[in-house]
Symmetry: C2
Subunit: 189 residues, 2 copies
DNA sequence: GTCTATACAGCGATAGAC
DNA sequence: GTCTATCGCTGTATAGAC
């Protein structure tokens, strides 16, 4: 059912721009071109199930396009460059925000367990890549935390400052720091 | 009117935890112990004026406790250490989120011009401190962006991962990088 | 200034015709 | 499967008694 998938993608943009509470069925009906009745046919569980489906689709995209590459047998540095590139594409170079991050800040976090999982899986996949590059687990975890926090914060700041290009600038520096982690053999500052 | 100020502080926690849309008058009435009628007596403009007052109070706190120190004649490194300490205190070591960042992610950003100002002023004050420490404007801007994005992202990640201590860890590494910027005289990698 | 009562619009959700 | 009509409820906001 490609139809359902495309409906979910449209719902995602509504949730992304308005947050969980701000995303009304009226808006979602307009965005998808489906009446409320049809929405409830696709998602019998109502708004909650819609949000669930949206987060799952997003998680699935990151799993396929980002996390899988990190876990592949690519050279760590290449895997990370690919991650950065895909992230930049996904967030439209700072013109899109992170729905999962948005949910995380509110009380929606507690309703949707996938919020925690999304960050957990990402952090672990990135840290493992850095371990493959020769870092200790402790250093790798630290660098992964910094990178993921940096990306999320860059999305917040870019939107707050109305400066999408800030995202690209910060992202490039995050990439550089991760590459340094790949090159430096030893250290432990 | 200290009464109004303490009401605003309580309203702030509701907005912080539920976002603009999720913060209902019923919740705010309970949080403040004031009836709806009284809330409208304090804030004739309704919910919008409440949110306005909340953001202003937060901006005021940061102005007094953080930005002013950055602009003072303190040694840059000391000013930055003070900033980090106050930020850690304010966000209760990762157990509190940033209301302004939360608003920035949603459509509330466009309703409240102070969201933009909050980040703008912070970034500029921090960058100026780094310039005082001998950095070029370009390098200072970059480091300030990284630091502010890092802080915001750390709040998102800490909450998403249910790991408040992540905030302290990331914050310490941000501090270290800022201190490095103070020490290095030249560079331009 | 505080409260309770209430107006009325919009919410999520459901029913039922087609 | 799609729509429209409608339910019951909660939302913001206001009126008016005290």
């Amino acid at each position: 059912m490609g139809d359902r998938a495309s409906a979910i993608a449209k719902l995602a943009e509504v949730f992304r721009e308005r947050g969980y509470e701000g995303a009304s069925l009226a808006l979602m009906s307009r965005a998808t071109g489906l009446g409320k009745g049809s929405l409830y046919n696709y998602f019998p569980g109502g708004k909650d199930e819609m949000a669930d489906a949206v987060i799952d689709q997003i998680s699935g995209w990151f799993e396929e396009e980002v996390f899988t590459s990190l876990r592949s047998d690519l050279v760590p540095a290449d895997a990370i460059m690919l991650m950065i590139e895909r992230v930049d594409t996904y967030f439209r170079s700072g013109r899109r925000t992170c729905l999962v991050g948005n949910f995380a800040l509110g009380d929606s976090r507690d309703r949707f367990s996938q919020v925690n999982a999304y960050f957990e899986v990402w952090k672990e996949a990135l840290a493992q890549t850095l371990v493959r590059a020769g870092r200790s687990k402790v250093d790798a975890d630290a660098a992964a935390e910094d990178a993921i926090a940096g990306i999320q914060g860059a999305l917040v700041a870019a939107r707050a400052l109305n400066d999408p290009e800030l995202f690209g600038r910060v992202l490039r520096r995050i990439e550089r720091r991760l590459m340094d982690q790949c090159l430096a053999i030893h250290a432990r500052i």
